[in-house]
């Protein structure tokens, strides 16, 4: 029982990580897009749990609201609208597995390289608390808000313009052509 309590963080991490990876595998494995979308939802929720483990409570909430709420509804809405089931049976590009495997091997090699470098560099310093701004301790949401609206004000404004452009673009593309309407 004591071992269970002592390793609680690790157990939760491995459970969430396993669900996240299984969901990701389901996304590329399922033939039916609705099943793939449900699998993706599972991954999003597990990743939100992992964010909580990393003391990023605000990001976890945003992940649930934006991804599991907004993006997922958008995906399901389009799947229903398009009615993919009536479309011809799909196959996968199996021959393209080789470049994918190559790219992944490069990534693994890079990660191992960084790990070896970090091991030679010695252990990391003490982890500073994530909730202080200029020495004042505050909640995660407040601290992220401070950083967002003070240090990242220009990126914030740029992102709002990007969102506006995306909104207009989606409306323009989704609109019926004039000739089509007649």
């Amino acid at each position: 029982m004591d071992a269970l309590v002592a390793n609680f963080g690790a157990i939760v991490f491995y459970a969430l990580a396993a669900v996240a990876v299984a969901g990701a595998a389901g996304v590329i494995g399922f033939k039916n897009p609705v099943h793939a979308a449900m699998s993706l939802l599972l991954t999003f929720l597990s990743v939100a749990g992992l964010f909580v483990l990393q003391r990023a409570e605000l990001i976890a909430a945003v992940q649930v609201l934006v991804y599991a709420g907004g993006v997922m509804v958008l995906f399901l809405f389009v799947i229903m609208l398009v009615n993919v089931r009536t479309l011809p049976e799909q196959q996968t590009y199996v021959r393209r597995l080789v470049p994918a495997a190559l790219a992944v091997s490069v990534l693994v090699a890079g990660l191992v390289g960084v790990g070896v470098w970090a091991a030679f560099r010695g252990p990391a310093g003490p982890i500073a608390p994530l909730v202080s701004v200029e020495g004042t301790v505050m909640g995660n949401t407040e601290a992220v808000g401070w950083s967002l609206y003070r240090d990242f004000l220009l990126p914030f404004e740029v992102v709002s313009i990007v969102l506006l452009v995306a909104m207009i673009g989606a409306i323009v593309m989704g609109r019926k052509e004039k000739e089509e309407r007649a």
């Binding site: 990743v47 799909q90 989704g174």
Partner: protein
């Protein structure tokens, strides 16, 4: 003890699965979902390093990544709607007008 390396390995696995999905699948909707997986993997990295370095900037950038992912999903699904209206397909290999 769960270290930052654990999170990096998880992120790598998710990125690899997402990349495989983008390269292997030819259903446009599944490809978009795989791109969301890749962005989520990037977010795991940002959050892990924010914790590792004790710097909140990683979390703020994760907010930006989520915003851009939402915008990308809206645009991508708009393209799907337009594609279905024009060619009645979501299979990427049926869309080869611009192939030389």
């Amino acid at each position: 003890m769960i270290t930052t390396t654990h999170y990096l390995v998880l992120s790598l696995i998710m990125f690899a699965l997402g990349l495989t999905g983008v390269m292997v699948r030819r259903n446009f909707i599944t490809v978009l979902m795989s791109i969301e997986l890749i962005l989520n993997a990037a977010n795991i990295n940002f959050i892990a390093f924010a914790r590792h370095l004790g710097d909140l900037s990683g979390q703020v950038i994760a907010v930006f990544v989520i915003t851009l992912a939402a915008a990308e999903a809206a645009i991508g699904l708009g393209i799907i709607i337009a594609l279905v209206r024009l060619k009645q397909t979501v299979q990427l290999d049926h869309v080869n007008v611009m192939q030389g």
